[in-house]
Amino acid sequence: MREELLREVEQFLYREARLLDERRFHEWLELFTDDVRYWMVGRTTRYPTASKAITTMNRHRHRETDVASDDGDLAILDETKATLGGRIARLDTGMAWAEDPPSRTRHIIANIEVEPGDSASELNVYSNFVVYRNRSESEQDFYVGARQDTLRNVDGGWKIARRKLVLDQNVLLAKNVSIFF
């Protein structure tokens, strides 16, 4: 992978994070393709298959992965571009109380890896996020997890065509997810 391309992807992701922290949500939405799927999968707590708790029972019935499946299971977010737009329109109504007053967020994006995508115009991009959210007087939350993005080159610029978010919590310790990742 060319150094120049890595830099380009990094700058794209950093700029995207800044748009979110500056609450420039309409500009942020423009970074997505019309066919994007944007979702945050659920997590569970599972025993490893090698665990004595499992080996004493029927291990073949055990599903080891603690990440919910991409389809059919509950997710924390499961959005299209239209529903992301709906969420942003909701914030604009002046009656979206969970974000009134708004959260102060800081998106730290790290561990960026760039790999070739399924087609010549696409890249698979991995990154980690630490999102700090502070609101009102003493509310604060950390949302920490991984992103698996597909970036697509559209008319010479990058757009996000797929974003899977994996949050590192089983029981969500924040009271809600009213921000974007």
Binding site: M40, R90, K175
Partner: protein, 276 residues
């Protein structure tokens, strides 16, 4: 769905539920085969007392147009408009169980065209199973006393409000669908749930902020000196023989709050089940 208790003195479940069983059927037994649960569950911790969500799901019809107007205007299908002059009644079959009902012709389903079409299609089967009471009320959201709530409108969820001390509640929330529903309806219910009633739900987010602030406000020095006022619609409620429940004359009423907290106070003051 299994109900259990550690209390050996507790009354048997049919007695505990009483006439609430019909209202539970109106959520969970509308079609042959009953319901199934969509894979996984939502668990999250809210900074509020458990009674706020419990009373909200069973009685708070009047918060919707203020708390949720932003979501009503921008979520789901914009082609479906909530009927502005919806009728309905607050219903309590007794023992603290409370249900919010809209009128029999008001929309009580997630406002997604395919779900509404599905509901029209299965209506004859539902009417046959639930009987003539369904021609009087359409139960859309409610609470089995004390902390089990269910919802049909907007999303199809049931949940337990697990108290984690006086000002923390852990939500255990599932989504359910008619077992006999086609796969595309099950998927429509899944996404309506994730998008509407979940930690990120465009409806539920704002509820949680309310409940948090209600809990905080109740801790104040001055508010602790005052009684909570739940007098809305007082005197406009009666026992309805056809509904087999206490019912308010108007949909905007705190009659169910009174039923819920009266039972709560009764149980808190009683030494044993025998004395209730």
């Amino acid at each position: 769905m299994i109900f259990a208790t550690f209390d050996p003195e507790a009354p048997p479940l049919p007695e505990y539920l009483g006439e609430m069983t019909w209202y539970l059927d109106a959520f969970f037994d509308r079609r042959e085969g009953g319901i199934e649960v969509i894979g996984g569950m939502h668990r999250w911790v809210m900074p509020c007392n458990w009674k706020f969500p419990a009373e909200n799901f069973g009685g708070d019809a009047y918060h919707v147009q203020w708390t949720h107007l932003s979501a009503i205007k921008t979520s789901f299908s914009t082609g479906v408009v909530t009927k502005p002059n919806a009728t309905g009644t607050m219903v309590s079959p007794g023992q603290g169980h409370i249900v919010i009902c809209v009128g029999p012709t008001d929309v009580g389903d997630p406002p997604v065209p395919e779900i509404l079409a599905y509901e029209r299609e299965i209506r004859p089967e539902v009417e046959k199973r639930l009987g003539s009471r369904l021609g009087l009320v359409n139960p859309i959201v409610g609470t089995v006393f004390p902390n089990f709530s269910m919802l049909r409108a907007t999303s199809r969820t049931f949940r337990v409000w697990q108290p984690r001390g006086p000002d923390k509640t852990e939500v255990w929330s599932w989504f359910y669908v008619d077992k006999a529903a086609p796969p595309e309806i099950k998927e429509a219910v899944r996404v309506a749930g994730v998008r509407g009633f979940s930690p990120s739900g465009t409806f539920e987010q704002d509820d949680m902020d309310n409940w948090q602030e209600c809990t905080r406000t109740c801790r104040g020095v001055v508010s602790r000196r005052l009684s909570l006022n739940t007098a809305m619609g007082l005197g406009h409620e009666r026992y309805d023989e056809d509904l087999k429940a206490w019912a308010s004359d108007f949909r905007i009423s705190e009659s169910n709050h009174r039923q819920f907290y009266r039972r709560w106070a009764q149980l808190m003051a009683a030494e044993s089940w025998a004395k209730v």
